[in-house]
């Protein structure tokens, strides 16, 4: 309840339109004290409280806020998962040593950080996610005191249990399980086992766990970005040791910067070859930080930096061959990595051949990191039959031809007339009807053309005169050198 026009202690409601009526979805603490309840019509609530402020309920914004909190809680453990609309589960197994805190320490720290952001967190620690969630939700100190509603099995099951005189989980736990399972199904025994810490349930973390990660906590928050690269270098040195031990090298490095106020900034760099050397990693991160459109805002300071290697590959530590590297030029891959980090991966390309019939699909741009493929050799003794540049889309031109299905004599393009001196054609390229039965298009007749200035063009007539079109149009598809 941070956002909105109303101050935190004012009564307000979040409403949504349901079946033509404005219904209250959630209420502020002050409004709850007035005796209002979620699910009421706004009109009914306003009858009680004429001054009740109403704001639009936006579940997607709530969800985004929850996910931001989930990311912020990754400072404790990478195993954090959102639970429902308003809760999250942290798996703290094995984390207390590196955190240098015990259970109550983590709970206190979490409560302090969340209340600083304006939340009223309910937190509990238990052996299983379900037990912890139930303890936090119902505000009880022990599992046996929990009401049967903590099972979360649906209203009718809870009602049936209450009618049978079973009001708490403790009463339920004392009874034999077999009759309960026979009456309420297997879900009952599973839920009870989860709740009583007899059987663990796995949680799926919001972000997948990186296989290799190292982190650095600061006693005092780092208020400027200046020492950032130094810390990254130090972390990269630690990551290198882990990578060396596995015989791997990182293809992708990611730095998470945890701000004291819960904001998490993430920077990632990719490399074309597996990297280990901290100097290389830092060089890429320097490039990345310099290329940020809006620079890093340390705010009140970063108190935790985590470097993870989400993607890594085997490094072949082969011996250098004597007969290789004749040119003596440095390897291009680090340069391409750097340029890719600065200008984006979509800037760098390589050409790849494609076995397609239509000329505009015969080549394709692929990321520069991909392996170059060999191209077919041109036919000897022929002049270039394909242009150096292709227009995308083809440019419409006006053509004067002697006969409608003959070669062009003159053509006009961009307000200029070109007289055709030499021409060759047509090279007939049909629409690939053999690929899909229903798709069809006009046949193209391509002409190689040279005008009186020596400029060479690639023109085509779109459609066969007479049989396909009465008045086929002409297009300029490319220019030759």
């Amino acid at each position: 309840m941070r956002e909105g026009a109303a101050p935190p202690d004012a009564a307000f409601a979040l409403i949504a339109k349901q079946r033509g009526a404005q219904r209250i979805m959630a209420l502020s603490p002050a409004a709850l004290k007035l005796g209002l309840a979620a699910g009421m019509m706004l009109a009914d609530a306003r009858a009680q409280e004429p001054d009740l402020a109403a704001l639009e309920h936006r579940p997607e914004a709530d969800r985004a806020l929850l996910l931001r909190l989930v990311e912020a809680c990754e400072r404790y453990t990478p195993m954090v998962a959102p639970q429902g609309d308003d809760a999250m589960v942290l798996d703290l197994t094995g984390c207390f040593d590196s955190l240098a805190m015990d259970e109550t320490g983590v709970l206190d720290d979490l409560a302090r950080r969340l209340s600083r952001l304006g939340f009223h967190p309910l937190a509990a620690c238990a052996g299983t996610p379900d037990a912890a969630l139930a303890l936090a939700r119902f505000g009880k100190r022990s599992l046996r005191e929990l009401p049967v509603a903590a099972l979360g099995l649906g209203e009718d099951v809870h009602l049936a249990l209450k009618r049978a005189g079973l009001r708490t989980i403790g009463q339920l736990a004392d009874r034999p399980r077999a009759p309960l399972a026979a009456r309420f199904g297997k879900a009952m025994s599973v839920a009870l086992a989860h709740l009583l810490e007899e059987q663990d349930r796995r949680i799926t973390p919001h972000r997948t766990l990186p296989p290799i990660w190292v982190e650095q906590r600061f006693a005092e928050p780092m208020a400027t970005v200046k020492p950032l690269l130094g810390v990254i270098a130090w972390l990269a040195g630690q990551a290198r040791d882990l990578l060396v031990a596995r015989g791997r090298g990182g293809r992708r490095y990611e730095v998470s910067l945890f701000r004291t106020d819960g904001h998490v900034a993430r920077l990632a760099v990719d490399s074309g070859l597996p990297l280990r050397d901290p100097a290389d990693v830092v060089r890429l991160f320097r490039e990345r930080i310099e290329s940020l459109a809006d620079p890093l805002d340390p705010g009140f300071g970063y108190d935790l930096l985590r470097l993870s290697v989400p993607l890594h590959e085997d490094v072949s530590e082969g011996q250098e061959r004597l007969d290789e590297d004749k040119s003596g030029r440095p390897d291009l891959v680090p340069l391409l990595d750097r340029l890719q980090v600065r200008f984006g991966a979509e800037c760098l390309h390589r050409f790849t051949p494609r076995d397609e019939h239509l000329p505009e699909y015969a080549d394709r741009l692929v990321p520069a990191a991909s392996r170059p493929e060999s191209w077919p050799q041109p036919e000897t003794g022929e002049p270039p039959l394909r242009p150096l540049f292709l227009f995308d889309p083809p440019q419409p031109v006006t053509v004067l031809a002697e006969v409608p299905d003959g070669p062009p004599r003159r053509f006009g393009w961009q307000g200029r007339q070109h007289r055709v001196v030499r021409q060759e054609g047509p090279e007939r390229i049909a629409y690939p009807w053999w690929k899909t039965v229903e798709a069809s298009g006009p046949t193209r007749d391509y002409y190689r053309i040279e005008d009186e200035d020596g400029c060479r063009f690639w023109l085509f007539r779109h459609g066969l005169y007479g049989s396909e079109k009465a008045d086929p149009r002409w297009y300029l598809h490319g220019v030759f050198a």
Binding site: R329, F351, P384, L385
Partner: protein, 244 residues
């Protein structure tokens, strides 16, 4: 004057040097500009200077060395896209080329300097369209210094601009020329009309017609049909031009 010891490798534009033609027209560690010749109506064909630059780069490179080609992702240039089968038809291996498409001229120049300084590519080709005030004397000097340091050839292809002062080692103006017709009056292989506008410490104003011979990987004078090239004619020397 030239310091010939600095020429590690030279791309020879022509096989035999005619009178007045520089020994090594394209110095390996230099910056060279290829201007698109402007027609009377101001139109400039980008393909001829670019093809000539690519072919020079291919001649200068050794097998296995990559070639970097930087162009803008937006603007007039981007409407025509490089067509890899066309490159292959010219005898240029498209697999050797890394194409960079950059958002603006500033990034293009910055990336260009980085590429040249790195020295991993044999040749870096920069396509600069229009007047491009950002590409000034300082920018070209920076490229020239980097080229000298890393022994990288820098080829700048300019279209839609008048030749402007720069730190380039040589400056050429390139246009298409009528090709040698094939049987049935079909257009032949690419022929370029090349004018040497400026050469540091060398002659200027040479004019030359060059035909690219893909099979042998050399330039030759058109109509010579494989005979040793006798191409160079100084501008204004009409008598010898007709003899060629």
């Amino acid at each position: 004057m030239f310091d010939s010891s600095r020429f590690k490798r030279a791309a020879s534009l022509v096989q035999t040097s005619p009178e007045g033609w520089p020994d090594a027209p394209l110095q390996q560690d230099g910056v060279h500009e290829f201007y698109a010749a402007q027609g009377q109506d101001g139109s400039a064909a980008l393909a001829p200077p670019l093809a000539l630059a690519l072919l020079c780069a291919v001649q200068a490179r050794q097998p296995g060395e990559p070639l970097l080609w930087l162009r803008l992702a937006k603007g007039k240039q981007a409407r025509q896209r490089p067509y890899a089968p066309g490159l292959a038809e010219l005898g240029i291996d498209p697999a050797a080329i890394v194409l960079m498409r950059l958002p603006d001229l500033q990034s293009l120049l910055r990336a260009g300097v980085d590429c040249v300084r790195h020295g991993g590519a044999a040749t870096v080709i920069l396509e600069v369209d229009g007047r491009a005030p950002a590409f000034d004397l300082t920018a070209s000097r920076r490229l020239a210094l980097a080229a000298e340091q890393s022994r990288t050839m820098v080829l700048i292809v300019r279209s839609g601009a008048d030749p402007a002062p720069s730190a380039a080692h040589s400056r050429w103006q390139v246009a298409s020329a009528p090709s040698v017709p094939l049987p049935a009056d079909a257009p032949g292989g690419p022929v370029f009309d090349v004018t040497l506008l400026r050469q540091r410490g060398g002659r200027e104003g040479l004019n030359l017609q060059l035909e690219w011979d893909r099979e042998r990987g050399v330039f030759r004078a058109p109509l010579s049909r494989g005979r040793p090239a006798l191409p160079a004619v100084r501008t204004g020397d009409a008598g010898r031009r007709s003899a060629a």
